[in-house]
Symmetry: D2
Subunit: 351 residues, 4 copies
């Protein structure tokens, strides 16, 4: 069937390519006409402006927005201007699900159906397919199902879950109608929240392995690596690149994120050149806030988020306050980085 | 080559079977002679006692212990009595790596080489193979490498890590010599610590999804589900069985633990019958203690462990203390479970 | 000076009493006319309805709202109807500071000045005074300063902070103009967030003390208290009532919350009768959400909040998921509460 | 009565002074004879070596060790050489309670009674007195009670806990016999664990206040302060020095640690010159390890400890791993510190 794509960045363009490969027809638009031209050469119908875009689409029009979350609202409004009752707008970006809820209600009044499609897949999506978490009305989601089926990864070589039989369910093909508008991005949001947690679990564990030789390094005796009480138990120089490669096979924690870690450590075992300032996108934050709203404890997901904040120095004032208190009650001076530990530094807090 | 196996529980017996399938010869012993007989019928050489066991092994003998961690020390001592200098003992159980360090030193004095093999694979190991994390001397580990190669999963159908070329490294075949004695169980310990974190990340995320309909349930207004401030954003009845199945395909968090979760939720979508009292084995605890020793922050791994403690009610006295304080400073009575919320219950803490 | 109080619950009535004791004049109103009558007998001017209330106040009127947070908006709107440009509304309840920001903007258009006064003090405020965190315009806060000075605790017997000299600053008298409208409740919100953290720190520590005899109780060997590895180090039956009393004197952690804990444990050393289902008010939640918004890591404050959620069983589904996974990968059955530990229960996780 | 003090650092010397002021007689020894001389001038009996020290003490001798935890064991052994059966050694330092358990057992065989006295009070102890948490045999603790009573703060001006009547209990005078040897330092350890939690709660809360103006600073739009979604709610420039001063009066969180924070912020409102590298002493670590041993969840205490680790950069490798993963799955480059946010940096994680 036909789809109009607005936003031809990496993900938008790759979704168009994946659709065309499978025989769908695509009308493509972007403010950057270079990208439109490039995709037109690959077989898409290029549009010069939104009016042209709307004119080239059959009714009811199906429009996929793949633009930065920050401008999705603005673009959706502009697109709605050239659409008609009965048309469908799909937001495939990383919107906050709350915006979907509001936007769907506003568009509903104009007869336009709104679908939110949380999309996971990263740079591998063109080949692997995109995992699609979809929210919207039954009618709209059914209408666009042929598109979803193509964009999604399909069953692939993944072993079927024991207990499942008969025709493949949509979720076994990599897309799912999760519920009303907003639910797609809600599920995607939680997905990313979990992703933060898994990433942090792997990273923390590897950090322990990286320090399993603390009893050997102890000799150097720097200020901040406090004197180990039992150095004889930390004499292991572990090769984390090899260990992550190992865990890909037969271990309980084998996972795609571990695969990626193995790639990264194989390329650069010491991770030289990475400062460890870890960005966070909105999803991890929204996940924690949603959990707080509904009263669900998420210590692991929140800890993973807070580690990222701290990695960028956002804990600085709090740490200064701690040092200031220690100075007050015990006369403890801060140890300068890299300095030699004063006698009893670790053991003699006067508190 | 030949291996002597002591301990014919599920894992010990399956390792013997996996070795025999690949042409190795096994001498099998267990205090339960029924299991010895059963395995003898499958081709193993049964031993009636430790003396018989030692007599049936060629020198240098290679003995694999697969007994509960609690008795490994005792069994290792007994076995050492019937062995000679040059023999090798492998501990394939879930020992604390600190015991390995001590035991290896003690056995070294008698000329016996000690190898610890952290073994992951669960109930699927017979077919899938066991991921092996191995610690010990170079000589001993090289000697037993043919056994390790068979027990391990091998490369399987897992895509090769980009950047790796030439002959398959041991870690690409599912086993790794991690370092000196103790390092195998150390790496296995951290592996399980990570496992706790990943499990918790998935579980917490699903708990949010399970409560994404809080704005609908709000009507019932029970005491402990505090009044939602924006119920319009929590109107999603999400099917967690379908969502976990979906995430197996093309998503960033696809993983074996997610596969298992999908199986479990497909079988029993409401998880009826599970009380949610989550046990913990030693590894998760040891991981946190090791991190504390070497000064590595592990908020995610520790949170995952503490959630398990709390799931069993180990937070009870702390919670009583909190209720007692609230009663003191604000006159706040505890809300009985299932009762109706008193006006302002959530909003009016006098603090 | 004169103040009109709306809402004569415990806190509203006590503030009126504290003001009258110090020579201020109060007009009092509540939907419950009984409470109006009672306070009138103590010297207040009772009002029969809002119109009457407004008529009895001198211009510019100063009105203090002390009503449940859930209805503050509604009451503020009703009161604004009977007020005029130049009048001042003070919200002394536990409002979300975001509502203050919105409400102040709305009332500003009508010429009414809005002040938010975060109020801490609990049941002890009548005697001890209330700590006041105030947001609003300079003019409005200056106008009501005589009232604030009376309601606040004053300098009391608290030792002056070294380095401070000269006239007592407002904050040394127990009230502070924190910034524009909303800032008062913002500071109060963070205050309560900190309160959660301090309470949790004390409660967790006492829980360790309560279990310092685990090595003695070990004999009983229940299922969920996993076998201690070194029971010889946990042989201390600690009296937590005595310890908290002790820490009130000369220790670094002496604090009012510890005083209250000592009272509670002295009254009821085992805390019998408390179920440990800990409620949470909005402030703790808002604090974590504000921290997430501005990117500040708050692992301690968030953990304290999540512990309360978990104390009420909100972790249940997550825990069921964990048990379900363990059942899948290792065939681990849940241990029933109070049952005897199966051999190796703690030590033999197959993962 | 008479006490022999070994170790005349700040705390040891001040305890001697406090004892002499109250009429006790002290024999003082330190490897640094300068400090011995100084204290002799204040009235103590100086000792030139351990033999001399023992000779100058009446039997049964009572010896207080106040030396760095790292050498306590060695010093205790040396002292034991010059003592006799019936004498008492008190360890007032910051020993690990496990060492007490072992040391008490070893000394018991020689007839020497061992008492551990956890001592809190910091630089203020000389005037304020020291809060004493004491472990040991009934006989030994009773024997030294006159000394404990003097060293402790006494009842002071602290209001008596409601419900307590009659003679003041020891805990109301600032010392407590907690249980057998080791229990004193165990209680002190948990005390310090709680201290970490309280300090972190205050520090995290103040960090939120310090960032309550994020919506104003937003204009600068640096890379790592992600675009605020609702900057209108973060327009508060809060003076944390004034707020902490305020909270000392009438608020629920008033506490000695808050008093100290107010002092520190009054002296140096921006905490300039503090790097925020927060040291940790053994107690916080031992507390978490003890909690893990007995299965008590301590998310707050552990988070407080891990924040300190992270403040010193011990999270570095973990953060590098996170950045490396993000680079793999989404092509996300790290944002350099202080750089301008690339479009969608916060909002467009491809995961």
């Amino acid at each position: 069937m036909q789809l109009g794509m607005i936003g031809l960045g990496r993900m938008g363009a790759n979704i168009v390519r994946r659709l065309m490969r499978d025989g769908h027809e695509c009308v493509a638009y972007d403010v950057n006409q270079e990208t439109v031209k490039a995709l037109a050469e690959e077989g898409a119908t290029g549009a010069s402006d939104l009016k042209d875009f709307a004119a080239k689409l059959q009714k009811p029009r199906v429009v996929w927005l793949m633009v930065p979350a920050g401008i999705t609202g603005k673009v959706a409004d502009e697109v709605a201007e050239v659409l008609e009752s009965g048309d469908i707008i799909i937001d495939g970006g990383n919107s906050n699900y709350r915006d979907d809820v509001r936007r769907a209600a506003a568009l509903r009044e104009r007869g336009i159906d709104y679908v939110d499609a949380g999309t996971s897949g990263g740079v591998f999506g063109l080949e692997r397919g995109y995992c699609l978490m979809v929210g919207g009305s039954d009618a709209a989601v059914q209408h666009i199902e042929p598109l979803l089926r193509t964009i999604a990864p399909g069953p692939g070589e993944i072993e079927r879950t024991p207990g499942r039989a008969g025709d493949l369910a949509p979720e076994e093909q990599g897309y799912l109608h999760c519920g009303p508008a907003g639910s797609g991005h809600f599920v995607k949001m939680v997905h990313n929240g979990i992703e933060y947690g898994i990433m942090a679990a792997i990273a923390e564990g590897l950090n322990i392995l990286e320090n399993a030789d603390a009893g050997i390094r102890e000799a150097e005796h720097s200020a901040e690596i406090a004197p180990l009480e039992e150095p004889e138990f930390y004499q292991f120089p572990i090769d984390t690149a090899k260990v992550t490669e190992l865990w890909r096979r037969g271990s309980v924690i084998s996972s795609w994120l571990l695969d990626l870690t193995a790639v990264a450590l194989n390329e650069n075992p010491t991770l030289d050149g990475l400062a460890g300032r870890v960005s966070d996108s909105g999803e991890g934050r929204w996940t924690v806030k949603a959990a707080v709203d509904v009263g669900v404890p998420v210590p692991v997901l929140a800890s993973a988020l807070f580690e990222r904040f701290a990695s960028r120095g956002e804990d600085h004032f709090a740490n200064q306050v701690l040092s200031a208190m220690r100075l007050q009650f015990g006369g403890h001076q801060e140890l300068p980085a890299g300095d030699v530990l004063e006698a009893g530094g670790r053991k003699s807090e006067a508190g």
